[in-house]
Symmetry: C2
Subunit: 190 residues, 2 copies
């Protein structure tokens, strides 16, 4: 089971006050496979840290379920488009395996940002890293074909291939499930 404090300490050193104040705001939650932590079209109030399990962010486009993002144990997940703006989110959060989460009210997080420079810094660092990851992702769409994107995923996040159904991975990569199945079988032939 992954620990939130360890995770944070990679980026900033929390004082014991800061640590306590954070943990005070965290609530443990266990959810079953298939459960939705958040529904598209509603206002989000919480941010999550995954202690064990896996979840994805998704949205609907012309009735199709498209996966935007995966997070596994030791990672944060949340519908930032809503948390940050206070408006409804386009996205939902869907749990793919029975999972154990820490739940924190985004309001409480904002208070921590205000109260402690350290948390503000953490927020900046994580947002910047998120930004850079998304930029890297954009590059894969501009310059690579379906097969190249798949191979990159195999290299960088092989665990996903075991834990998420093909259809979710396909929409994540921006290709059809059928095409992904073909690409994969072509690879396995060798």
């Amino acid at each position: 089971m992954k620990n939130i404090i360890q995770y944070i300490n990679q980026y900033v050193k929390l004082s014991s006050d800061e640590e306590q104040d954070l943990l005070k705001e965290c609530k443990t939650r266990e959810v079953e496979k298939g459960h939705d932590l958040h529904t598209p079209g509603t206002i989000a109030k919480h941010f999550y840290f995954i202690e064990s399990g896996i979840a994805r962010i998704y949205y609907y486009q012309n009735g199709n379920d498209i996966t935007d993002f995966f997070a596994i144990e030791g990672e944060f997940i949340g519908t930032l488009d809503s948390l940050f703006t206070g408006k409804t989110s386009l996205f939902g959060i869907h749990v793919l395996e029975k999972s154990k989460l820490l739940q924190i009210k985004y309001e409480a997080l904002e208070r921590l940002y205000d109260r402690y420079h350290t948390f503000e810094k953490l927020g900046r660092i994580l947002a910047t890293k998120g930004y850079l990851e998304e930029v890297a992702r954009t590059k894969t769409f501009q310059g690579m074909n379906a097969e190249e994107r798949y191979e990159l995923l195999v290299k960088t996040e092989p665990h996903l291939l075991q834990r998420a159904p093909l259809g979710h991975i396909a929409s994540y990569l921006g290709i059809s499930q059928v095409q992904l199945s073909r690409i994969r079988s072509k690879k396995n032939a060798f």
Copy 2:
């Protein structure tokens, strides 16, 4: 000509100390059309605010010049992948028109982050906004075809169509220049 302080005040209120300390670190720079502010493969040291003009971030993929991002007057631009990590950047910055810029050393910006909670907050907010924009961009690649992406660009950033050559816009949208030309002529037929 756009003003950096006004821009920042949309997000946080700077004290006059903070404002002075920021401006102290800014150097005005004029660059000619076609100039490169930063070359791919080198380490970046500066972040820029565009007072007038337009620039793009680009990279090479199999020898092709691909545009990753456009910024115009009143916006920031920088190769964050290098600034944030200290490593070489995959990207370059190319100025499309004679432009007037404010240049600030990223080190100096980091000092401002440390010294003033307010700047840290600004950084967090801008990084978060950047992140959300990139997520929105990813969505366009997952769920839209070339024509839909073009039409979205027409809606959201019509000025780009006047100020950037077709080839740059095409690679930004992840399509060939030829295809973009066809899409555009189809539209103009009505």
